[in-house]
Symmetry: C2
Subunit: 452 residues, 2 copies
């Protein structure tokens, strides 16, 4: 990564190439909300699929779940969110802004932006009050106003309340896990680091249920396992670190938590959290629902409340991390290019089919026919507009690992040129071998071209 990677450059690339737009932009936007354009959708899906593949498809011991966003409101009483999921906020009586009382030093005074609200007499601050971060709405038409419910602030509780159903059907004995990807909502005042923290966001959470005396061991296992996932998909090890929480940072439910932090442009910040939640959640949901959530051995009668180890990663934040870590600018043959050195499995487009010169009918027909063959199995693009150098740069900017050029020689000997995004090396391949070649390359481990 060049030293010059800033959040502004990432935001600009995302807008320019349609990865991410501010949401509701034609109405002036809605703070901390973003919409994902074509390449953003493809990249986000690829990150999600890489997670599901590692968590579910390639393992024997983890099953998938997709629970509702609106759950029974008592779930959130049991979990402690109704009582305790709050931020302390203060109001400025002068500029009418509201701030997190514990983040005053990262905030700007509305009247004197060069100052923090706490260090200037222009801000006349109220005492802090606790505001719940859950969005509330009302469901049903049984009474005049319906029943108050919440948009889930985490997907995890949907896992805990389904523990019994899943354990019975999956015929599983701990250790086993339940993995879920889905949207969560938090009504937060955010510092505005693009898609790092947004009002609605997608979480990838997994609860790994273990015998209580194995919890510590599995906690360490999952920290290592999750760290490896980011690295295998191309994030530089030197930009990652593990930071265990101090005792006074721990959530009410947690026995131990470690953050996997990434070196974002604004500094080291949480990328993923791995928590040892103990028996807290299953016990709480058991107590409030009256349904025993425990594991019982049908043979021996042995029973216990499993402890839960939870790796929890924000999908949008993970996508942002891959973008930042992949972003590079370099000068090649006196021309600047911006290139996303994404792992090929994450790249929104795997290959671009580019007829080289002019648009002779025969060359276009050959290129279209290759494109039609490839798009049945891969996300590929066809582009015959403009100079070849410009087309390459467009593909470099969205991270397409391979360019396939069809030229005069193709019509003679049925070969195409394959250009490597990172090394810029070009080699010729028989037309009939392209599909297999790309599938093989995607299945291989990737040797990252990145330098620290």
């Amino acid at each position: 990564m060049s030293d010059a990677v800033t959040m502004d450059k990432i935001v600009a690339l995302c807008r320019r190439r349609g990865f991410v737009f501010p949401s509701s932009e034609i109405y002036g936007g809605l703070g901390s909300s973003y919409d994902y354009g074509h390449y953003g959708v493809l990249l986000k899906e690829n990150v999600k699929n890489a997670w599901l593949r590692a968590m579910v498809q390639e393992r024997d011991d983890i099953v998938a779940l997709d629970s509702s966003i609106i759950l029974h409101p008592r779930v959130w009483e049991a979990s402690g969110h109704v009582g305790g999921f709050t931020d302390p906020l203060v109001d400025c009586r002068t500029c009418k802004n509201r701030y997190r009382a514990d983040h005053l030093e990262q905030s700007q005074c509305g009247k004197r932006p060069s100052k923090h609200p706490g260090e200037t007499s222009d801000c006349d601050l109220t005492a802090p009050r606790q505001f719940n971060l859950m969005f509330e709405t009302r469901v049903g038409a049984v009474e005049e106003t319906g029943v108050p419910v919440y948009l889930r602030p985490e997907t995890a509780q949907g896992i805990f309340i389904n523990f019994k159903n899943v354990a019975q059907i999956a015929r599983r004995k701990p250790p086993f896990g339940i993995a879920q990807v889905g949207k969560s909502f938090r009504n937060e005042i955010t510092p505005g680091n693009f898609i790092f923290r947004t009002l609605e966001f997608e979480q990838m959470e997994m609860e790994y249920f273990v015998p209580p005396d194995e919890a510590e061991e599995w906690y360490r296992y999952w920290i290592d396992e999750r760290l490896r996932w980011h690295v295998d998909l191309g994030v530089r090890e030197s930009h990652l670190r593990v930071r265990p929480h101090d005792a006074d940072e721990l959530s009410h439910y947690s026995k131990a938590t470690s953050d996997i932090e990434y070196h974002f442009p604004m500094g080291w910040s949480e990328l993923e959290g791995v928590a040892n939640r103990g028996a807290y959640d299953l016990s709480q949901q058991s107590e409030h629902s009256g349904t025993k959530l425990e594991w019982v051995d049908a043979g021996t009668g042995e029973r216990f409340v499993p402890h839960a180890i939870e790796p929890a990663l924000g999908l949008n934040r993970s996508m942002l991390t891959f973008l930042i870590d992949a972003y590079d600018e370099e000068v090649v043959a006196d021309r600047e290019r911006t290139v996303l050195r994404l792992h090929p499995r994450l790249a929104p487009v795997k290959a671009a089919v580019l007829p080289l010169i002019g648009k002779s009918d025969e060359m276009v027909a050959t290129a279209r026919s290759l494109f039609d063959e490839l798009r049945r199995v891969l996300s590929v693009e066809y582009d015959d507009g403009g100079a070849i150098g410009r087309r390459y740069r467009r593909q470099d900017e969205i991270g397409t690992p391979w360019g396939l050029t069809i030229d005069e020689q193709t019509l003679g000997d049925d070969t195409v040129t394959i250009r490597d995004r990172d090394s810029l090396a070009q080699e010729r391949l028989p037309l009939g071998r392209v599909r297999e070649h790309l599938l093989d390359r995607l299945a291989e481990p990737w040797s990252s071209p990145k330098t620290d």
Copy 2:
């Protein structure tokens, strides 16, 4: 399909095998909400991917989008949802139930369930009042209570408000489309047909923007195209029909709409809607936002507001349709079996690896090694528990198209038996050819074994 397919049988299978559970069940449930278990998640993802593949990957003219659930509230004023997205409801003063005034004949009186609320004097009904179907919540902490916003009741408006951004970046001239998959929410009184209609649901919507004088032609094109998608994925043509809306059924925005209906157990009902929305939405969002949403030819200066043709399909409803259409019960060699004749591309698990007799170390090692090879590219299961007949029936019930048995002969000649879910035919394949064989079979068109 046997004549005996009832919704109860589908619900029972879904619970028994963990496709779908009632949501928040340990708290007594939350009406019309469901959670998806392991096979449900896999099936739903496969349906979604089949739609995205047909809509985006295999076409040149449609791009993907993923907009926010919470949009600026003025979006819903412009769309007409704040003013007009309502159901007429009546209350019974006796039993305190609430009913849709236009669905009284499908409802049960709370005191006399054998009667409709309208035909018995036990129900003392109020006059109908209009209730908006949008869930309302409040966002932000700028004022005491935040700003009122809505959970989107359709994904389509997220597409219209992003029209300009997408059209500019994708360098597209109509006709072109924008496709989106995501959750929507409607605070409805539902008749309780399992996942046919739920409070939160996933939509797959595509807006195809066309020159006004081509709208009628593209409307007909998309009805045919969408009908073909369901049939290609295995839904029987005899269970599908197209029903154009009468003039008095049309939504306020629609110039013409046709429902693709499926013969559900409760009768013919909407599976997918294809609507000609005309210029209504782009014009409304332009007017309310002050941003012109139109297409302008940079060369000629030609400009027009494109008309939108919209195929809109519920993901959950589509999954339900595939389940119902695939469900079969038959007697084979004096034993009953339940089998889901799902298209192999939709099946949650593509193949099961089953070591045949006992668990000799060598046989298990061979089976595990095949399993490990396959799961890198496909969703597969390993099962060595119980009699082989029981294991087959378990796979039949979840629709696994191929069973791979490892037996004594495997250890001698490195071949395995592949069993076909539908024909029950068995043939032997070299171990080293299994992976390629399965991938080839998945790429081929599927000849459905279903009879009308």
